[in-house]
């Protein structure tokens, strides 16, 4: 079956966009081929610094022919209607067939050659390609991520002719900018294409480039008895920066090793895209680095490694300047500068924010088991590093530098640690702080963020969350749970925003629990009680989960639903009775048994709830299952006698209300 080979060759594509571009190319081509009735056997897309490549295997040579019967006017319809139908189908009257009381037209569509479909598809994909940022060039109006230079498009060994403005499709591609033959090569099949690229120093597949980089870097490190400091994000990026990646080791002046490791690594990574190496036995970095070049240089890379080392020295000299200068001024003195830093136009300065955090840390510190003075001191200083030179240069070191500077000026260890960790947890793989002072500052920092932005109505919408409020709320949840904190949320916020925020937390908690495999309807059932204590909510959800997975629990849920359906129907007829069900002498035994069960179970449930022993409360509740089932099996609620009916309704109300104290079972699915 024929093969399609497509390459879109351009000037350098930003590394961060390559992976998404390969996926988009495959998706867009797949959708269009399928829509044209051309289902391929397989597709693969590749992206690199200068090219997007797609190979589609097993395409038919043409679309299948289609024949379709279209229904027209009924037999005996006016001529005008029939003529109109003939016009729309381009047929003559003799060609119409008659059955089922109507005229039908048989329309035959000849399948178009696949090449013709491709010739239309590729320009459309180019024009509609969803680059995060795109541009025009020269005199053209087409947009691409950078100027598009060539399109190789071969189907079944032959060029598919079309053009996108100035760029005509062809069967040519080219290799590495400096190491290749400098002449374009012809490729009519994917195999020939891949071979020509390899011969011209281009590694087509991202994963192969990554493997090559890692192998090269590890070999170099091992040769000196060192090991590579893994950095997945950096690996992804450098794999997008070189068509022919070559690892080189360079030297760093040992005197830089007295800088914090994070500073050296950040400088290497963000400015230079170098990997750090360390001594496997020691605890720090080694005075070397590994850079990934895009060329096998004629001198074996000596000039490149020396050049790389010089640039790194200049960068680390800057970093050392900041490190030395920053330590001359105590953090407390830097706070003044935060008075001139706007946190948000409607929320005042960063300094004002620090004042709020500080007050809150003093108040909530004891809740986390932190000394209020230490918590307040850490909160007071936690943003001071924003005014340091180092954080100005490397914003991602915020917190970390504050921690170092706090230690350098001899502040208590707990304070330094809290400054360092107060942005945590920053992602799913990041731990929530558990040291008391750290947890306190991390918690209040996020609470203040949430309260502030909700107060000015800057809530996340859809995929927009510019102030990372979802992450802040999830951070609060994780800190609360990791530290077993009792923190009623509603009381933490002003009345006007409390409902919104508690709802926002409920949503975040639902997402978090769902990720742990918990049922979100159970979270709803518990939140519906109006509880705003996250720890209690989670404990209750867990207990409810256990109850409902038991047979008694599942059946009890059925009984609950039945009771509430009856009550809902009755409510429409008039007000429900108030009062407690009475034991009647002539009542069926199942009615009395349920009254008795309620009388014994209700106080136990209440007592367990008061102790917050939700598992025990649920277990007690499960005891209602048998009497409730028996009641429904043998007792007719809708008794003709009004007093009897009201007594039985009262009984159902008591069952529903008792269960309602444990969770809102109406929210539970099933």
């Amino acid at each position: 079956m024929p093969q399609l080979l497509l390459e879109l060759f351009s000037e350098e594509i930003p590394a961060r966009m390559q992976g998404g571009a390969a996926r988009d190319l495959e998706r867009m081509a797949g959708e269009r081929l399928s829509a044209a009735g051309l289902a391929p056997e397989s597709m693969r897309a590749f992206a690199g610094p200068r090219r997007l490549t797609l190979v589609v295997e097993g395409l038919p040579a043409a679309q299948p022919d289609r024949s379709e019967e279209r229904k027209g006017p009924r037999l005996g319809a006016p001529d005008a209607a029939i003529d109109g139908f003939l016009r729309s189908t381009a047929l003559t009257r003799e060609r119409l067939v008659e059955h089922d009381g109507a005229y039908f037209a048989l329309i035959e569509t000849k399948g178009r050659p696949t090449a013709a479909i491709i010739a239309e598809m590729v320009p459309e994909i180019v024009r509609q390609f969803p680059w995060p940022k795109s541009m025009k060039w020269g005199n053209g109006q087409v947009r691409w991520v950078r100027p598009l230079k060539r399109i190789l498009c071969v189907f079944d060994g032959a060029v598919v002719p079309f053009n996108v403005e100035e760029v005509k499709s062809g069967e040519l591609s080219e290799g590495h900018r400096f190491m290749g033959s400098k002449q374009p090569f012809v490729a009519r099949t994917f195999d020939a294409y891949a071979q020509a690229l390899a011969a011209n120093f281009v590694v087509l597949e991202t994963e192969v480039r990554k493997a090559r980089i890692l192998a090269g870097a590890r070999t170099l490190a091992a040769a000196r008895g060192l090991e590579l400091v893994d950095d997945e994000g950096l690996l992804d990026e450098v794999a997008g920066l070189a068509e022919w990646p070559v690892a080189l080791m360079g030297d760093m002046d040992e005197s830089f090793l007295d800088l914090p490791d994070e500073v050296i690594r950040t400088s290497m990574r963000t400015h230079q895209r170098y990997f750090a190496v360390r001594n496997p036995l020691g605890d720090g970095l080694a005075p070397h680095f590994i850079s990934i070049a895009n060329i096998e240089a004629s001198d074996g890379g000596a000039a490149i490694a020396a050049g790389n080392a010089r640039v790194l020295s200049a960068r680390l000299n800057d970093a050392r300047f900041f490190w030395d200068e920053d330590r001359k001024v105590p953090l407390a003195e830097r706070l003044e500068r935060l008075k001139g830093v706007t946190f948000h136009a409607k929320l005042g300065t960063m300094y004002e924010r620090v004042e709020r955090i500080e007050a809150l840390a003093r108040e909530l510190g004891p809740l986390v088991g932190a000394d209020p003075d230490l918590a307040a001191q850490a909160a007071h200083l936690c943003k001071a590093d924003l005014a340091t030179g180092m954080v100005g240069e490397f914003p991602e070191l915020q917190g970390i530098m504050g921690g170092y500077y706090a230690r350098e000026e001899g502040l208590p260890g707990a304070v330094a640690e809290a400054i360092r960790d107060h942005y945590k947890p920053q992602g799913p793989s990041d731990d929530a702080p558990t040291a008391p002072v750290s947890a306190a500052v991390a918690l209040v920092d996020k609470l203040d963020t949430l309260a502030s932005f909700f107060a000015i109505d800057e809530k996340p919408t859809g995929s927009r969350d510019p102030f990372a409020l979802r992450r802040a709320a999830l951070g609060v949840i994780r800190i609360v749970l990791a530290n077993g904190l009792r923190l009623p949320l509603r009381a933490r916020f002003k009345r006007a925003i409390a409902d919104d925020l508690v709802g926002f937390f409920a949503d975040r908690l639902k997402v978090a629990l769902r990720e742990q495999g918990k049922r979100h309807d159970l979270v709803d059932a518990v939140f519906a009680l109006g509880d705003d204590d996250l720890l209690r909510v989670v404990t209750r959800v867990d207990a409810l989960d256990i109850l409902l997975t038991s047979k008694d629990g599942a059946n009890l849920l059925g009984g609950y639903k039945r009771a509430s359906n009856i009550l809902r129907a009755e409510e429409k007829k008039g007000p429900l009775p108030s009062g407690v069900a009475e034991r009647a002498a002539d009542a069926p035994p199942e009615e009395t048994a349920l009254i008795n069960a309620l009388a014994s179970i209700a106080p136990r449930v209440e007592a367990d709830l008061a102790k917050e022993d939700f598992t025990a409360a649920m277990r007690a509740l499960a005891g209602l299952r048998a009497p409730v089932d028996a009641f429904f099996d043998h007792v007719l609620v809708n008794d003709p006698d009004a007093a009897t009916r009201e007594n039985r309704l009262s009984l159902l109300i008591q069952v529903r209300d008792l269960m309602g104290e444990v969770a809102d079972f109406s929210q539970v699915a099933g």
Partner: protein, 307 residues
């Protein structure tokens, strides 16, 4: 660097002039108003707009008062040189032309690692942006390469390709020196050899003191406000030949921009005011760009008057 003697600072400039002259560029001399970057030269900012082809290259002294370091930082100074090239429309082989210019100044492309790394250029004070790269040579950023998409908030069509070479950095790289003061300004074998430091260190010291300590903030502020009033007034004027006064108005935008930079270096601009100042300059620049495009349109309609 290579087996040949590395080029001196001035020979790099001469080599670039010769190279870009061969590519059909008009080789201009620097503009005589203080600018923070070579892009701001009216022959780039304004000529990027409109339909006419335009190829230029020039050296532009650039001033960034906030970068003053009294000549003590090995690679930061308040006055430096940019080599600026603009090709409008950008030719299809512009990357190859650029690489050719590196070879022209002695960079052996088989020995060094030249890379185009994503860096999208933006200058909010002139409402301009473009997509492109910073060009790395062995990990050192040696040029900025941009396809202008908008200037003064207006679309650049056809697109102009712009190259900016940081000349001191390039020279330090080519010559293998670590401090700008050590750059060979002229040929080290010449009878009266001068380093960059001998030519400019005194100037760095004096202007650093001016930028950080002596500049008169009240006067700068008054002058800024004068410029801000003059730009719209000039844009309303027409000369006796019917000509507009866009270029004189734009000079005042440049002056306003430099006055802002001086006030900023003196620490006289509060953080909250910064955005507002930048916005004011951008508005002035946008007014000039729009007026310029109007004349370009008039000229295009009457080709006999066209430049």
């Amino acid at each position: 660097m290579t087996s040949r003697t590395p080029l001196s600072f001035q020979d790099i400039i001469l080599a670039l002039h010769a190279y870009w002259s061969r590519q059909g560029c008009v080789i201009l001399q620097p503009y005589d108003v203080e600018v923070g970057a070579g892009t701001l030269h009216p022959m780039t900012v304004l000529r990027a707009l409109g339909p006419k082809p335009w190829r230029i290259a020039y050296v532009q002294p650039s001033r960034r008062p906030a970068d003053a370091r009294f000549g003590e930082n090995p690679n930061r100074y308040q006055h430096y040189y940019q080599y600026q090239v603009m090709l409008k429309p950008n030719p299809p082989d512009m990357q190859a032309l650029y690489l050719g210019s590196l070879e022209a100044i002695g960079i052996d492309l088989s020995l060094h690692d030249v890379r185009f790394v994503e860096d999208d250029w933006e200058n909010p004070t002139v409402g301009a942006w473009g997509l492109g790269w910073e060009v790395w040579c062995d990990g050192m950023e040696i040029s900025q390469y941009t396809y202008f998409q908008q200037v003064g908030g207006l679309d650049v069509d056809p697109v102009a390709g712009e190259l900016t070479y940081g000349l001191e950095r390039l020279a330090m790289y080519v010559q293998g020196v670590e401090d700008f003061r050590d750059i060979a300004f002229n040929d080290p074998r010449s009878a009266d050899f001068k380093t960059y430091g001998e030519v400019f260190l005194e100037s760095e010291r004096e202007f650093s003191a001016f930028d950080f300590e002596a500049a008169n903030v009240d006067m700068l502020k008054r002058q800024f406000e004068d410029m801000e009033r003059e730009v719209p007034r000039l844009l309303k004027c027409r000369g006796r030949q019917g000509q507009p006064l866009v270029l004189p108005a734009y000079d005042y935008v440049l002056k306003a921009s430099h006055l802002f930079n001086l006030m900023d270096a003196r620490g006289a601009i509060a953080v909250a005011e910064r955005q507002s100042y930048i916005g004011r300059i951008r508005d002035l620049c946008k007014a000039c760009a729009e007026a310029w495009l109007t004349i370009e349109g008039e000229n295009a309609a009457a080709p006999a008057l066209g430049a």
